[in-house]
């Protein structure tokens, strides 16, 4: 089922833009970096929306803007139809009880000077949940829920392995019992065998707590495994959106196809077969190409692609593609 048509929506963005001003080190000129450049999407409760793209595509900035950790340039973010950017600071803090985040690097996202107990107790305290003894109990329950022995609560982050640290990060996000969790490359820094543990944990938690994830990753196979629907981003914009099944079966946008083809196949007998490697580098989001941003690398690009950014077409029910190839 397409989330756009379902009635209930937990989070949506409307033409969201987050631009940064950066200073060119060479001439001291200020330039605009179009990190997120007009993103409209929506997530239904219980859904796992995957966001895929390469570096500089704006997926992480999108995740942070949704939590209002970055200020938007224009457009809006609605959490349960409440405009996040028009809320008072107090209200934003209240909203953070409902929307939480898991970070990429389990080493840098935990304060090295805090013990696990105080890392996990902090969100409870900030949102005035329970009294002290209550909170201690909750901390132990949280640790158990993410697969950590509560007897390690007095330890410091550096005393844990990468996977265990990520479990702490997950427990911290769960502490305030959120509805939506933004997972920003949550398993990318982990070794494969540990990554599998954490992916299972995230899937279990989603089942058990009926969570909604905005799952940001550069890794197609991870997104394919966990997401129900996928959004593909390129240079700040959504180029394709579809259910995971549809997208994996038949990617439509030339960039999505290029991404899929470039992804290594775990079968040495299939190496090199039908490989069509897209050439060129990902352009800088400071000065994105005119027209369709992918046009300079696209094997199907026409003059029209180079002139105007394509609108979103719906060649099949429930599939959105921003590519002129699908225009009538």
């Amino acid at each position: 089922m397409n989330a756009h048509e379902s009635k209930e929506i937990i989070l949506r963005t409307k033409d969201l833009k987050t631009h940064f001003t950066v200073v060119n080190p060479k001439d001291g000129q200020k330039q605009k970096l179009y990190a997120v450049d007009g993103v409209t999407l929506s997530i239904a409760p219980g859904e796992i929306l995957g966001i895929v793209g390469e570096s500089g595509c704006g997926k992480s900035t999108l995740g942070r803007t949704v939590l209002r950790l970055e200020e938007r340039t224009s457009g809006d973010v609605y959490f349960r139809e409440e405009n996040v950017f028009e809320a008072t600071p107090e209200r934003v803090n209240e909203l953070r009880k409902h929307v939480q985040m898991i970070f990429q690097d389990p080493y840098s996202s935990l304060n090295p000077r805090k013990r696990v107990s105080s890392l996990l107790e902090q969100p409870l305290r900030l949102h005035s949940i329970g009294d002290l003894s209550d909170r201690i109990q909750r901390v132990e329950a949280l640790m158990a829920e993410v697969g950590l022995d509560p007897k390690f609560r007095t330890r410091f982050p550096h005393q844990f392995s990468g996977g265990q640290r990520q479990r702490i990060g997950i427990a911290r996000a769960l502490a305030v019992d959120p509805e939506l969790i933004v997972c920003d490359e949550a398993v990318s820094a982990l070794d494969v065998s540990v990554q599998a543990q954490i992916l299972n944990l995230l899937a279990d938690l989603q089942d058990r707590r009926n969570l909604t994830y905005l799952f940001i990753s550069h890794d197609l196979s991870v997104v394919e495994f966990i997401a129900t629907r996928v959004v593909v981003m390129y240079l700040g914009r959504i180029v394709e959106e579809a259910t995971t099944k549809d997208l994996m079966a038949k990617p439509l946008h030339p960039y999505t196809q290029a991404l899929f083809e470039a992804y290594p196949v775990i079968d040495p007998r299939k190496r090199g077969v039908t490989k069509r490697i897209v050439s060129g580098d990902v352009p800088s989001p400071i000065d994105p190409p005119k027209g369709c941003h992918f046009a300079p690398r696209c094997p199907f690009a026409t003059d029209r692609c180079r002139e105007a950014y394509p609108p979103t077409f719906e060649p099949e029910v429930g599939r959105n593609v921003a590519c002129w190839l699908f225009g009538k």
Binding site: L67, N93, R96, K97, S109, Q122, G147, H158, Q159
Partner: protein, 297 residues
Amino acid sequence: MAESVSATNELPSIPGDPSPFVRFWTSLRKNNSAMTGLGIIAVFAVVAVFAPALAPYDPLIQIIGDRLTPPLTDGYFLGTDDLGRDMLSRIMYGTRISMIIGVVSVSIGSLVGGLVGMLAGYFGGIFDRITMRIIDIMLAFPYILLTIVIVALLGASLVNAMIAIGISQIPRYARIMRGSVLAEKESDYVLAERSLGAKDGELMFSTILPNTLAPMSVQATLGIGEAILSSAALSFLGLGAQPPTPEWGLMIASSKEFVTSAWWVVTLPGVATLIAVLGFNLLGDGLRDVLDPRLQE
């Protein structure tokens, strides 16, 4: 499912892995320079605290008949000065004053400087620009000149000397703090705690501050040594402690005409200053080595 959750309950880390403080202490103990410095400071600290019990004489009592007695003579271990006061006792009481000056002026400098640096680094913007320009102006003055100007404005006294030294040390702490805050504020763990709903005050003082203490404590240790030296200089110039206070710089100044006839009256307070400053510098350098994150593991 149960498998994936229960699977990781063995820690790869060593059993009884020590806390950061214990780890810090273990590596500090292996650092010769830090331990030598710490030893020197400990001796001075003991002398400072127990000066009344340890000193053989009252540092102010003048026995004119015994004036300028050389060391190891007539029961004066380090001799007497030109007014017949026991040098050893005066140096011991001087330790007290130097330690207090060091600690008080560094406290003033690091608290004010640290706060300014924290606010400037955290909030940035116009406050940052204005305070940093003021700091630049302060740094444009030679350190000792700035101190002298401040004492001149406040009036010559030991307390004012401490304040002046403290004020002229503000810029360095402000800069170090601002630099560390700028680096820490962008890190994921600060962002993470912000996303949990932590407010600015908590982020500044409970999240960021503990992670900036390493460079600050190195600077503070070196700063104590420098403050001791500055106070001696100020007193030597007559801008700090006033007679008959047994302050090292003042002791050198008041008996400088005897430098050719009685070497000990000038040399010994100088040596005391030198050793004390050396102690703090050794500890400061050692701390820098131990706290440098690049050298950790």
